[in-house]
Structures are given as C-alpha cells and as structure tokens.
C-alpha cells in the first residue's frame, strides 16, 4: 500500500514539475500599421518618429545632395523615378513600415511575415545561427534568424542588397538589422528596429506599431500594369490610352 502511495506521490510530483512554462506569445494574425491614417495614436502605443540615419560624414553628403534633388523635383511636380514605378518591392527593412496590412504565420521553428503591398514575404528561422553576411547571396529580404527573450521575439537579419535602401540610406552588404518585437497590449504589436552598419556613426533606431485586425484576409498584390514610366530625364509620365 505504501509503495502505491509513494508511486502516486511521485507521479503527482512529476506532473507538477512538468507543468509547461508560460508559452511564447503567438503573433499570428493580420496587423495594420498603427495608427492608421486619420486616427490619433494612443501615446502609450505610438510609433517613434524615424530620425535621419546617423550616416558617417562621407556618406551623409551624398544623401543630402540626393534629398535636395528630390525636393527640387517634387517642387516642379516631377519626382525622380523610384522602385515602385518599376514594380520593384521594398525589401527589408522598408517592408516593415506597414504600407498595407501585414500577416504573421508563426510556428515554433519558423515565422513568416507577409506585407500585402507587393506581396512581400520574409521568412525567419528560429533558433538558428545568423550566417555571416558574405556567406549569403545578397537579397531583398536578407537572411533572418529569430529567438525568444522572454516575451520578446528578437530577429537578426543580414545580407540585404546594397541597392535595396530605406529612406535613400546607403549601406554596406554587412548591414545588420535587429528587431525586438513584443506586444504592448493584447492587440498592439511593436517592432523596435535597430540598423547597424559600417556606414553609420552609431546604430539607427526607430519603431513601428501595429494593431491586430479582426477577420481580415490579406489580398494579393501583383504589380501588373504600371502605366507610369520614367523618361530619359528622370521624369515620370502616365501612358494614356488613346
């Protein structure tokens, strides 16, 4: 009899000891950029303004010249052509600005994030080692690995093509993007982005906020017919059906 009690006690003890730890949060679902246009953000959840990239002097001058040219072009109603005119998507980190809704598919070993605009999907592989930048072929979305720190998803990305830029910011192929994603509230997600690169004097940090959408199904986006074209002088025109 006492043996049975002992075994019983052990089993109960084991069951208690084996009680699962708090599960990682599940970010699965669709998210819209917060605040949406026309809505004032709750200050607790507002994104940070994005500062100018803290570029080193030799890169700053070039960017400022480009910004000046851009401003002049906009003044005359003729901005220089951009990637969208050519149906080229954002890449990383620009796709995280949340132009359109974003869908997160989360599994223990992999997390996919799809941005509806230009149907951009990035894949984050969990608990793997980040490859060295020169071990991967440069791409629009780079190579991403993730791990959990408590309730925060930490993602590291490298291997972004040099000509895939955010806010006209030049960068090396060794650029590394670190993201810390966590819930500020049950339906508010924050992505704190830090860009590290040799071209920068110090890390470039900003954050985006997203709000959970209920029952929204992501639409496709195929950049099928861009009637805008860029002429030799860099001016944008519209193709008119005669």
């Amino acid at each position: 009899m006492s043996k049975a009690l002992l075994i019983g006690a052990l089993l109960v003890g084991t069951a208690v000891a084996a009680a699962p730890k708090a599960a990682h949060p599940d970010f699965s679902g669709t998210w819209e950029r917060y605040p949406p246009p026309g809505e004032k953000a709750d200050p607790r959840y507002a994104p940070t303004p994005i500062p100018d990239p803290p570029l080193k002097a030799q890169y700053r001058a070039d960017r400022e010249k480009q910004q000046k040219l851009l401003a002049e072009r906009i003044e005359e109603g003729q901005p220089a052509g951009d990637n969208y005119v050519h149906c080229i998507p954002d890449g990383m980190p620009a796709m995280m600005m949340g132009m359109f809704p974003m869908e997160v598919f989360q599994r223990a070993g992999q997390i996919n994030i799809t941005q509806e605009a230009f149907s951009q999907t990035r894949r984050i592989y969990m608990n793997q080692k980040l490859p060295k930048w020169d071990e991967v072929d440069p791409s629009f979305y780079g190579a991403s690995v993730g791990h959990w720190e408590g309730q925060t998803l930490v993602i590291e990305t490298t291997g972004i093509k040099a000509n895939v830029r955010f806010r006209w910011t030049p960068h090396s192929e060794a650029m590394k993007i670190i993201e810390r994603i966590h819930l500020l509230a049950p339906d508010i997600l924050q992505d704190q982005i830090t860009v590290e690169d040799d071209y920068l004097e110090k890390p470039w940090t900003y954050s985006y906020s997203f709000r959970r959408m209920k029952d929204y199904k992501l639409q496709e986006y195929v950049c099928e017919d861009n009637r805008e074209y860029v002429d030799e002088a860099g001016k944008v025109h519209l193709k008119i059906d005669k």
């Binding site: 950029r33 003729q78 006209w168």
Partner: protein
C-alpha cells in the same frame, strides 16, 4: 535601386507609401495638378482593376455629341477594396461623373478624386492626403 539610364535616378524606397507619407513624395501623384480640378461626365469604356493603380477609362461628353477620351488613375485595388470598391463598382457602359486633378502635362488624363456612380452614390479612391487636392470644379 540605381537604374542605369543616362541620369541616375533617386531611389525612393520607404517614402512612397499610400497613404502614410507626404503627398509630395509619391512618385506619380506629383504628375497631377493639385491646385485645380475638372469635372467630367461620360461613358465608362473600361475599369481596370490592377496594381499598382486601378484605371478608369472614360469617353467624356464635350457637348454637341462629341466626346474626348480620358485616362483616370486611381489608387491600389487593395486600398480601394478596403474603402468599399470592387472590380465591379464601375463597368463599361456606365454613365458616371468624375472630379479629377488633371495631368500637368496637358494629356487627357488625371487623378480621380471623386466618382459619382449612375445610382448617385459617391466613391472616393483613397488618395493619400486627399485634402491637398483643391476641388475647383
């Protein structure tokens, strides 16, 4: 992305968003005159539901039975569907009224600001910073 044409073009990644960035930064919308509008009434010849922009083709009445063809640019169908549009909101043969920010270069086209359907219902396509487009017609 550097496009190797005669002139180096500025890569505007991250600045050209619908609708969360300054209107001036959008690549195409600067082609349109935001200081005045024109109002057209006529027959829809096509309603193209494509990305990056939907297009409405219109034979606009010019009086005396004459018409002039206009190409009107809208926003992304993704955005428009969230504002109540569908690929069937307008169709060939519909008589509609449109308020348009005309092309600065004088070609018969523009940015559609307001569409009034045959039923009288008014539709807005979700132009970013729409309030910056002056309606004068």
């Amino acid at each position: 992305m550097k496009i190797e044409r005669g002139l180096r073009l500025v890569f505007l990644s991250g600045a050209i968003a619908l609708p969360v960035v300054p209107a001036g930064a959008h690549h195409s919308f600067a082609m349109f005159d935001n200081t005045r509008s024109i109002t057209l009434h006529g027959n829809v010849t096509a309603f193209q539901w494509t990305n990056p922009h939907a297009y409405l083709e219109l034979d606009a009445d010019q009086g005396g039975g004459a018409t002039k063809h206009y190409t009107l640019e809208l926003t992304s169908p993704n955005m428009m569907s969230r504002l109540g549009w569908s690929s069937r909101t307008a169709k060939p043969g519909d008589m509609v009224t449109v308020i348009v920010a005309p092309l600065k270069d004088g070609q018969p086209g523009g940015l559609l600001l307001v569409l009034t359907l045959p039923s009288g219902k008014k539709m807005l396509p979700g132009v970013p910073n729409a309030e910056r487009y002056k309606i004068t017609s």
